[in-house]
Structure formats: structure tokens, C-alpha cells
């Protein structure tokens, strides 16, 4: 039998004991929870670069490229390690909309390599096509080769150069392409010289007579209007393909006048075959077709929008507004 004051002390100590146990249990629970779900991304490689540090990280089944440890920065390239062919990001899938305009492009230029997902997928799909990758950052090419199994052979070449310069030099050499893919924008910074009317005119001059150009770009800022007006000034009406997540949009333009795509087009034999070919990569042509809209008669930017030129291209400032 304890005296009342001692009883009170024991009770208080007991309550302290219970609280300490609770805290320990809570930490244990959280530790098991996080570890079992694998929420911690592990950085497996850090590549120094002239522009930014490139991080390769793994989280569950995903291996991704990130530009810095800031949580706001989105992943640039991701692959499923168990299914490397399956594409992770919707914008990469949406770029394949171009195949609805040209089923078999033979000369493809990709500006902005990232981890090389687009290049690898296209090479698997179109093994006879010549693919040229242009990437400004040599460190990015190294990461793509070492951690993302970038395929390079007689059909797939990769060059470390600024996209604008590559296109200018290609014009001097009179090279031409069936499909140019502009994927040089990351979430942080836009190379402003790749958004101007002058640049698009150069890229257009590099396209074959029925050539097409796809650009992966942004949604949700003032830049949308300026970019739309600039593309329209060079190519006329274009296809707008906005991702359902409302972050990216693909601009699809052609050297020829574009016409609306009829939904029954996918019933044609060659597109039926393409649909089957694309499915293992997680690309559903029908879904893409549903969100493709031609700008004819439905310009969603003001008609008097200023056009971006080499003289006037405050793209990074406009993206913040």
C-alpha cells in the first residue's frame, strides 16, 4: 500500500511511461510504413554538369532523372525498371500523335534528349528510321547512356550541341527531316531562342515537304497565348494536344495544311496495326485522338497577341505570369 502522494507520483510516472511508449510506437509505425511503401527515393547517381547537377534516383519500380533536390522540381525522365518499354509520362505518349499524320517518318530529329526514352521507343518502333538526338548538356548524354540504356547505333546518333545551332548548321548542309521533336524545355528554364518565330522558320525550312514538327511545351501561363500566336504565324493552324493533368501540351504542326482527323481513321488497316504496336508502350491512339483539337475556327488566344521573335522573347518572364 503506497501513501497517497507516492500513488500520485506513480500514476504520473505511468502516464509519462505511456506517452514515451506512444511516441516510440508512433516512430516505429511511421518507419515501417515508409519503408514498406518505399516512399524514400534513393539517389543512385549524381552527375555534375555545366548547367545543373543531374540526379538519378530510384523509388519503388521507377528510375528517374531530377535536376536538383528541391521538391518543387519535377522529374525529367522516368522509366519502370520492371517494364522499361512502358512509358511513364503522358506528354511522352502524346508526342506519338505525330504518327497519325505520318505513319513511318524515316528521318527524325529530337531536340532535347533527357534520358533518351523517346529515342529508344522510336528506334524500337521504327528500326529503319534514322534518329538524330541533339542535347546541349554532355552530362545528360552520359547519364542517358549509363543509367537509361540509350540505344546508339548506325541508325541512332546523338550530338552534344545547342538545338538552334544544330538546326542552323543542318540548313547549311541542306539536311531535311520528316519529323522534328522539340523537347528541350524543363520545368525551370526555357531556352528563349527556341521559341521564336525566327527559330520556327528555320525548323520549318528543315522539314521535308510533308514534314511535321511536335513541340512539348507548357500550359497555364501567359506564355500559352504568345506561343500559340507564334506557331500560328509560321505554320498556320495546328493541333493542340493538352494533357489531362493540365501541365503540358503538345503542339503538332505540319509543312502542309492540316485537316481534322476523322475518328474512324483508326479503323483503317495500317492504323489498326499501329494501335497494336503502340499498346505495349502504354500509348493508346484512341485516347490521344480524343484530346487532339485543330485550332481552325477555335483560336483560344487573343488575335492581337504579340509574336515572339529573336528581338522579343521574354518567355521565362511570361511563364511566371
Amino acid at each position: 500500500m503506497f501513501s497517497p502522494p507516492f500513488n500520485a507520483l506513480l500514476l504520473r510516472r505511468k502516464s509519462i511511461q505511456i506517452n514515451t511508449n506512444d511516441i516510440v510506437n508512433c516512430f516505429l509505425f511511421l518507419f515501417i510504413l515508409f519503408h514498406s511503401s518505399g516512399s524514400f527515393a534513393e539517389i543512385i547517381h549524381s552527375e555534375p554538369s555545366l548547367y545543373r547537377t543531374i540526379l538519378v534516383e530510384e523509388k519503388n519500380d521507377l528510375r528517374c532523372i531530377r535536376f536538383n533536390v528541391n521538391a518543387k522540381n519535377i522529374n525529367q525522365t522516368c522509366v519502370y525498371q520492371s517494364q522499361p518499354d512502358k512509358l511513364v509520362f503522358s506528354y511522352t505518349k502524346l508526342l506519338f500523335s505525330a504518327l497519325l499524320l505520318n505513319r513511318k517518318p524515316s528521318d527524325i530529329l529530337i531536340v532535347g534528349l533527357g534520358g533518351g526514352t523517346m529515342s529508344n521507343t522510336l528506334h524500337q518502333l521504327l528500326p529503319e528510321s534514322n534518329i538524330t538526338n541533339v542535347e546541349i548538356d554532355p552530362a545528360m548524354i552520359k547519364v542517358a547512356r549509363e543509367h537509361f540504356a540509350l540505344i546508339e547505333n548506325s541508325k541512332v546518333k546523338t550530338f552534344s550541341q545547342d538545338g538552334r545551332l544544330f538546326i542552323k548548321r543542318a540548313l547549311l548542309k541542306k539536311q531535311t527531316y520528316d519529323w522534328i521533336i522539340l523537347d528541350a524545355f524543363n520545368g525551370d528554364y526555357i531556352p528563349e531562342h527556341l521559341l521564336t518565330q525566327d527559330f520556327l522558320l528555320e525548323a520549318k525550312a528543315l522539314l521535308k515537304s510533308n514534314g511535321i514538327l511536335s513541340a512539348n511545351t507548357f500550359l497555364g501561363s501567359q506564355l500559352y497565348d504568345y506561343e500559340s500566336a507564334t506557331y500560328h504565324s509560321v505554320f498556320g493552324e495546328f493541333f493542340n494536344i493538352k494533357s489531362t493533368s493540365n501541365e503540358n501540351r503538345i503542339i503538332l504542326v505540319s509543312n502542309q495544311t492540316l485537316k481534322p482527323i476523322k475518328p474512324n481513321m483508326l479503323l483503317q488497316a495500317n492504323f489498326k496495326q499501329l494501335t497494336v504496336l503502340l499498346r505495349p508502350y502504354g500509348i493508346e491512339l484512341e485516347d490521344i485522338l480524343n484530346i487532339m483539337s485543330l485550332t481552325t475556327g477555335s483560336h483560344d488566344w487573343p488575335e492581337n497577341t504579340r509574336i515572339l521573335t529573336d528581338q522579343y522573347s521574354p518567355a521565362n518572364l511570361l511563364k511566371e505570369q
Binding site: I136, D162, E192, H193, D310, Q311, Y312, P314, L317
Partner: protein, 211 residues
């Protein structure tokens, strides 16, 4: 009309030259990008050329101040600077096109282009600070203080030239419009200094006292 004092005018001229130098340097990246890209070495080329031009400009400006020191010559330097900024607007495309075709390595191409476009105007603008120090110093005991004040005003001009150009001017104006405005400002200030101060009969400068 209330006219600013000689010293105020010299400070105002130094502020404007600092403003113009950094405004032009910042736009240099934009001017070179279509031909030489936006790689880090483009900025390396631009900054090298500006630093080199300024260093030579300081040397020449300092030497010039020992030969003659009057607001008239400072006004001439401004008129010269305003004139040599104009080729950036008028000839940058043909100059860069020629270099782009003949020099394949973008490092040396951009260095050469930056030299052709920016070396002479920046060198002339660099002459202003040491020459202005000579105009302001009346007493050698005060020379450090005067130089400090002048560098303060001129570097403040550079800071404002950088932020105003990159935050606002590029949002509303074309590159050539901004460069042309810098040229007009330099020419106008040079003309103003020459007409209202430089051509006066009375020499306004005293020989610096040695203690």
C-alpha cells in the same frame, strides 16, 4: 533654367555609363543566342569581352586624363560611345552570320562575335570613370573619397541597368529598341554636356592640389 553643377553632371554621366554598360552586356546573351546558342560559354565570351574592354578603357581613360581634363572631352567620349553602340543595332546580323559560317567552334565564334560587337563601345564607356575621377578631384587628399563616390554612383547605375533591363525592358521592347535607346541617351547626354558645359570659355577645372 536651373542647371546642375559640374560635379552633379559628372556623376550623372557616370551613372548613365554604368547603366548602359550592364544593359548592353545583359542583352549580349540575347543577341548572340540565335547564332551561338545559350550554352554557358556564350556568357563566358560576353563577360570576358566586357571585362577586357573595360580594363583597356580604364587604362586609356586614366592616361587621357593626364593629358587634358575638361568636361568637353568627357562629352566627346560620350558622343563616341553613343555612336559606336549603333553598329550593334545595324550590323549584328551580318557580322554574326559571317562568323557563324566561318568558325564552327561556338566558343571561339561567340568570343569573336562578342569582340566585334561589344569591344569598342565598352572600351569607350570604360574610359569614363577614370576620366571623371580626374574631373572631380580638386584635392589629392580627397581623391580616394571622390573615387569611392564615383564608383558607388557608376556601379549603382550598373545594378539598375541590369535589373531594369532584365525584369522590365525585355518584357516590353525589342532588343534593338533598347540598344538604340541606350545609344540615344549617350548621344543626348554627350551633346548636353558639350553645349552647356564643355564649350564654356572659363576652364572649370582646377589643378589638383598636392599636399
Amino acid at each position: 533654367m536651373i542647371m546642375p553643377s559640374d560635379n552633379t553632371l559628372v556623376y550623372a554621366l557616370s551613372f548613365s555609363s554604368g547603366f548602359s554598360i550592364m544593359g548592353i552586356e545583359l542583352l549580349g546573351g540575347r543577341i548572340l543566342a540565335p547564332y551561338f546558342g545559350s550554352s554557358i560559354h556564350i556568357w563566358g565570351s560576353i563577360i570576358t569581352v566586357f571585362m577586357l574592354s573595360l580594363s583597356i578603357g580604364y587604362l586609356i581613360g586614366g592616361k587621357l586624363s593626364t593629358l587634358s581634363s575638361s568636361l568637353k572631352y568627357l562629352a566627346y567620349i560620350f558622343l563616341l560611345a553613343g555612336t559606336f553602340v549603333l553598329p550593334i543595332v545595324l550590323f549584328s546580323d551580318p557580322i554574326m552570320q559571317t562568323i557563324f559560317i566561318h568558325v564552327e567552334d561556338t566558343r571561339y565564334g561567340s568570343l569573336l562575335a562578342a569582340s566585334c560587337l561589344f569591344l569598342i563601345p565598352t572600351l569607350i564607356l570604360g574610359m569614363i570613370s577614370p576620366y571623371a575621377v580626374r574631373l572631380l578631384v580638386n584635392d589629392t587628399n580627397e581623391s580616394g573619397k571622390v573615387a569611392g563616390s564615383l564608383y558607388f554612383v557608376s556601379t549603382l547605375g550598373s545594378a539598375l541597368g541590369t535589373i531594369i533591363t532584365s525584369f522590365y525592358l525585355v518584357l516590353y521592347f525589342e532588343v534593338n529598341q533598347i540598344i538604340l535607346s541606350f545609344s540615344i541617351i549617350l548621344l543626348s547626354l554627350g551633346t548636353f554636356a558639350l553645349l552647356f558645359y564643355g564649350l564654356r570659355q572659363v576652364p572649370h577645372l582646377k589643378k589638383a592640389k598636392h599636399v
